[in-house]
């Protein structure tokens, strides 16, 4: 199924089908009431199947991640993944500035050293997940982020377990990151466990 089709569109379509069937049932002069009831019933059954189907699809469909920044807590970009090419964007600098902004907010508003977890814009959100030596920031423009939040936490924990010992006081050698892609691609595909 095409993920780009909006769930709203599908609902409107199934309403139309129901409408058409209902109209047929009432307008067409059937011989007896039983046939009419049969048609109305058929319409109702079809629509419930439809609605149940869409609901299942909607529940199962992953939140679509537009971009992911995998960073060290000091603001160095480890990996960047994106669905769209953005030629004007410098991902390294953006990762640094994103970290600087977090530092600023943290130091300005939070006494106890809490962490910024979310930045919301009108059209998209940035979710941030932290561990000792890793920060993941995911940019999403779809709704329904609860599952993503859980997945991001799991990924952060797994990356910490696997790469934490190399990334604490990381010397900056990119070859320490072999294997990160396997984990991150799974997250991007919305299939992280």
């Amino acid at each position: 199924m095409q993920r780009d089709v909006k769930i709203e569109t599908l609902i409107v379509m199934s309403m139309c089908v129901f409408g058409a069937l209902a109209v047929t049932a009432f307008v067409v002069p059937f011989e007896d009431d039983n046939t009419r009831i049969f048609f109305v019933g058929l319409a109702a059954v079809l629509v419930s199947i439809n609605v149940a189907g869409f609901f299942t699809v909607w529940k199962a469909s992953p939140t679509i991640i537009d971009e992911i920044f995998l960073m060290t807590p000091d603001g160095r970009l480890l990996k960047h993944y994106t669905r769209r090419l953005k030629p004007d964007q410098d991902d390294d600098i953006l990762a640094g500035m994103l970290t600087a902004v977090q530092n600023f907010i943290k130091e300005s508003f939070e006494e106890a050293g809490g962490k910024l977890k979310e930045i919301r814009f009108e059209n998209y959100d940035i979710f941030i997940s932290h561990s000792k030596s890793i920060v993941i920031a995911a940019i999403i423009s779809t709704k329904k982020p609860e599952k993503l939040r859980t997945q991001m936490r799991l990924v952060t924990e797994d990356l910490e377990k696997h790469f934490g010992h190399k990334l604490t006081n990381w010397a900056g050698d990119k070859s320490d990151l072999v294997g990160v892609d396997i984990i991150m691609k799974k997250l991007l595909a919305g299939k992280y466990r």
Partner: protein
């Protein structure tokens, strides 16, 4: 020839208006507006450098953090300093007090935050200073005492700007040499080296060294690996056992990633 990609964080520090932002602007291709420094206290830019060593090409990317110079903003500054692997300390040669405060304020502050890291001293605005001025003498003596390379530079004329950054770049990779025995591009050469590396890696990730060694021993016995003269098939079989152990101690995904990495290492090993 080996190729290494390194990513280092460098911070610029010094009193307000000594010319930190102007020096960066001279050296890097700017992307973000300077207004961010006033707004959130920091601007990040980057510069790529290529350095060569025997049998090794290093592509160094320096992320340069220009941090607001006011001494009062110390909390945000400490956060921004975290993880800095190199420092450029800037004083204004036309204002000797800004050079003195390098020693009195900035150097202790950096040492408290990140310890001793490669550092260069820059006396900026040398276009305004006379030769042999007090500021120059003070700066050079600080540099000599601490063993920091010292540059008289000008962001206005461009004199010595590139030089100062390039010197720091070289200091950042001073200890990097070709062919580490581990890593992605330079895999362990022989099968014994690969086995050594895998055992170490397994233990490091497992945490509890003693327990980890017991597991390794057990799995190697099960797979009939002769440690002195290992065969590839036996080692590959032992890897499956280690992966099973990691599925429990770490997670399934991590175990799978490790397994794949180690299998590759063993298959590519000589002997």
């Amino acid at each position: 020839m080996e190729l290494k990609e390194l990513l280092k964080k460098v911070v610029l520090l010094g009193d307000g208006a000594v010319g930190k932002t102007s020096l960066t602007a001279r050296y890097v291709v700017n992307k973000f507006d300077d207004k961010y420094i006033a707004t959130i206290g920091t601007k990040v830019s980057k510069k790529d450098m290529q350095l060569t060593k025997p049998n090794l090409i290093i592509n160094l990317r320096m992320m340069i953090w220009d941090i607001l110079g006011q001494k009062e903003y110390s909390k945000i500054r400490t956060a921004s300093l975290s993880g800095a692997q190199g420092v450029i300390l800037v004083g204004d040669l036309a204002r000797p007090e800004t050079v003195k405060s390098l020693e009195a304020f900035w150097i202790p502050e950096i040492e408290a935050a990140v310890g001793k890291v490669p550092t260069v001293l820059v006396g900026n605005k040398c276009d305004l200073a006379d030769k042999g001025s007090m500021a120059i003498t003070v700066l050079e003596s600080i540099g000599q005492n601490l063993g920091y390379p010292t540059f008289l530079a000008s962001a206005k004329t461009g004199e010595n700007v590139e030089n100062a950054f390039a010197t720091l770049g070289e200091m950042l990779v001073a200890e990097v040499v070709a062919s580490r025995p581990k890593g992605a591009e330079e895999l362990p050469q022989t099968l014994s080296e690969a086995v050594d590396f895998i055992i170490q890696d397994f233990c490091a990730q497992y945490g509890d060294l003693e327990k980890a060694m017991l597991i390794v021993q057990h799995q190697f016995e099960e797979a009939a690996v002769d440690i002195r003269k290992p065969s590839k098939d036996a080692v590959l079989q032992a890897l499956e056992g280690l992966a099973k152990a990691e599925e429990l101690s770490l997670t399934k995904t991590v175990a799978a990633v490790n397994l794949e990495e180690r299998q590759r290492m063993v298959i590519l090993a000589k002997g």
